[in-house]
């Protein structure tokens, strides 16, 4: 049976430590744009930890919410792309095909989550920092869109491996960089088609809800609400 990759984010476990953000940067060759471009609003974070304040001193509260591409089943970003650079795969991923992208940036406008980022200039690494670049992931050039891929390079590798040694993947073997690094295990990645997988079980939790689910985007990421004692 085909996989259907999804994720569960337990906001009660998430502490906003942002280990996932760095993990993603390291895994996916996301460039640092430098202070000037960052100030100009061109910083790239495939996954970001949104924080929202509520109330005022002394009753101020703050909540964290990691936001990455929700891999929607009815993704608004896909149909608007004139070249199919953004489309849906059999495994339910929102593919972003860099070489097909001509940079209309329409997908980024259509995305309600603003998780798509654009290469305004050719990315640059001061040598020898480029030696760290992950050879399994493309280095995107100027004028193309990019976004969280659910670490498709890991997914593909795992599938090739599985076919090689002819045994199915076990739940938990395959993790995205962010889920792998999360020290509090707030991010859980897995196959939603496997009812026993951790992610499936979490997605069924009564605490679960979907980000902007009422837009009908059918995200594949479930957020488990943060509980509170007081």
């Amino acid at each position: 049976m085909a996989h259907r990759w999804g994720m569960a984010v337990d906001l009660d476990r998430c502490t906003g430590c942002e280990a996932c953000v760095t993990a993603c940067r390291a895994e996916n060759n996301i460039p640092t744009v430098g202070p000037d471009q960052a100030a100009a609003g061109r910083a790239m974070h495939w996954i970001r930890v949104e924080r929202y304040w509520e109330g005022d001193f002394p009753d101020a509260r703050l909540t964290f919410r990691p936001v990455l591409c929700q891999q929607c089943d009815a993704a608004p970003c896909e149909p608007v792309c004139p070249t199919y650079a953004s489309h849906h795969t059999e495994e339910g991923l929102n593919a972003q095909v860099y070489n097909r992208c001509i940079g209309t940036r329409y997908c980024a406008n259509a995305c309600p989550y603003n998780v798509r980022f654009f290469n305004f200039f050719n990315p640059q690494w001061d040598r020898p920092l480029q030696l760290q670049l992950n050879p399994d992931v493309s280095v995107r050039e100027v004028g193309v869109m990019e976004k969280c891929t659910f670490c498709v390079q890991r997914i593909n590798a795992a599938e090739i491996q599985a076919t090689a040694d002819e045994k199915p993947q076990k739940d938990g073997d395959l993790k995205t960089a962010c889920a792998q690094s999360c020290p509090a295990t707030a991010l859980v990645f897995g196959d939603l088609n496997d009812p026993e997988s951790a992610v499936s079980r979490l997605s069924r939790s009564p605490r679960g809800s979907q980000l902007l689910g009422d837009l009908g985007t059918q995200p594949k990421i479930t957020y488990l609400a943060r509980q509170s004692q007081t």
């Binding site: 149909p79 001509i102 329409y106 259509a110 654009f118 290469n119 004028g143």
Partner: protein
């Protein structure tokens, strides 16, 4: 032939046959600006799109504003002249060609912007469905591909619509010139002779074109509006956008036409052919569109405010009272507050008055497009990702240069082709020759004619 006819012919052909230094100065000046614009674009492509002020999450801004604006302007000609042709309003005769010219040029410029605003413009042709070894085609679900088809159809249609009635006049110029000009006009006039058969076929063809071009014109701007309304972006995702944009387009189109006519009138001394009554009538049209525009804006705003949906309200506030409020209210003033009284009062609906009103409208409509695009993108659902936008030099330069490009093309056109249709004017000059049936349909326009002949 009557002296009237001869004088008419001479007047209208004079711009073609004599060239003043002033013309060269003008062309060089406009050319300079256009060149700067092109240079800037090349520069932008060389370094990357980052030279613009576009940023996360506002990925469309000036260029798309210009795109919508110019496509809007393009609704001046073809649409108007087609309508007037169909109802055979006789006062249309001096107006149609300069109107249609606006359409064609505005459309050419507008169509440039989707390419200018691409991250990788050199791959724009992937929008065209052409067979390739990859075996992959454009995505027909994308409004941008709809744009491509719509604009292609509209541009082709408009060019032909402009060209066909030009043929007899080109033939006329052919007969009035000698040497290389004679040869050139000979080629473009396709060997027109003016046999009765040609005249009849031409008239029929124009009628069919007029019928065909109308729905296309409407569809074009509807589809442009779809670029926005198809995306689930607060402030974009609205069913009113189709008619709203079409109305806006005609609105700005007429404004552009009025200004163009006024300029032609003064610079080419066409006072005798472009009468105040023409401005009067166009002014009335503009007034109507201004009201229609106001109605649409009110309807759209009211619905948002009443619905009070969180995300939509964020955009609403940003425009009504927030950072974009100054621009917003400028738009309202330019599109309604100023033009309405000017055009409503017969006393002020003079040529000057119309020009003032039209200039305001152009500014206002440009702002309207900007205010539809930027505030919405800057205030999507997750406030964490809100942002604001400020244009950078490249965008401003390119924007300015497109206005120059428009003027340049227009000036050259007026130089090469009689900007007012000579033969149609002749027909208009002695209505006795026109068919009775036409006469019957024409009485209310006849009033204007009467009023124009002092």
């Amino acid at each position: 032939m009557s002296d009237a006819d001869r004088r008419l012919t001479d007047d209208l052909l004079r711009p073609l046959l004599t060239t003043s230094a002033r013309f060269w100065v003008l062309v060089a000046f406009l050319g300079a600006i256009v060149a700067t614009g092109l240079g800037t674009w090349v520069y932008q492509m060389y370094w990357g799109f980052g030279l613009t002020g576009v940023r996360w999450p506002i990925f469309w801004a000036f260029y798309v504003t210009n795109f919508v604006f110019w496509i809007g302007i393009s609704h001046a000609g073809t649409l108007i002249s087609a309508i007037l042709r169909l109802v055979n309003a006789r006062w249309r005769r001096p107006v149609t060609r300069c109107a249609e010219a606006i359409t064609v040029f505005a459309l050419m410029i507008g169509a440039m912007f989707p390419i200018i605003h691409l991250g990788r413009p050199w791959l724009f042709f992937w929008l065209i469905p052409y067979p390739n070894q990859r075996g992959i085609w454009p995505n027909f679900r994308s409004p941008l591909v709809w744009d491509f088809f719509a604009i292609t159809a509209y541009l082709t249609g408009s060019v032909l619509f402009l060209f066909l009635p030009m043929i007899p006049d080109l033939a006329l110029v052919r007969d009035r010139t000698t040497g290389w000009r004679h040869r050139c006009y000979g080629v473009v006039s396709l060997g027109w002779r003016g046999t009765t058969k040609q005249w009849n076929r031409l008239e029929t063809a124009m009628e069919i074109m007029a019928i065909a071009i109308l729905p296309v014109a409407v569809s074009v701007h509807t589809i442009v509006s779809f670029d926005f309304s198809m995306a689930p972006v607060p402030g974009w995702h609205s069913t009113i956008f189709g008619p709203y944009f079409v109305a806006g387009a005609i609105f700005s189109g007429i404004a552009a036409l009025i200004i163009a006519m006024a300029l032609l009138r003064t610079f080419l001394h066409l006072e005798e052919y472009l009468h105040p009554v023409h401005f009067q009538n166009l002014g009335k049209l503009l007034l109507m569109m201004s009201l229609l525009w106001a109605y649409f804006v009110f309807a759209e705003r009211l619905t948002v405010w009443y619905g009070n949906e969180t995300a939509e309200m964020a955009v609403f506030r940003a425009t009504q009272s927030g950072a974009f409020a100054p621009l917003y209210w400028t738009m309202v003033v330019c599109n309604f507050v100023i033009p309405f009284p000017i055009l409503a009062l017969k006393k002020t609906r003079t040529i000057a008055g119309c020009v003032v009103a039209s200039s305001c409208v152009l500014v206002g409509m440009w702002l309207e497009r900007f205010l539809i695009i930027v505030p919405s993108l800057g205030h999507k659902y997750l406030p964490y990702s809100w942002g604001t936008y400020r244009p950078r030099p490249v965008e401003i330069i390119i924007t300015i240069s497109t206005f120059a490009a428009m003027s340049l093309l227009y000036v050259l056109f007026a130089k090469l082709v009689p900007i007012i249709s000579v033969w149609e004017l002749k027909v208009g000059a002695h209505p006795a020759h026109a068919a009775e049936s036409v006469e019957a349909r024409d009485d209310e326009q006849a009033l204007f004619v009467a009023r124009t002949e002092p």
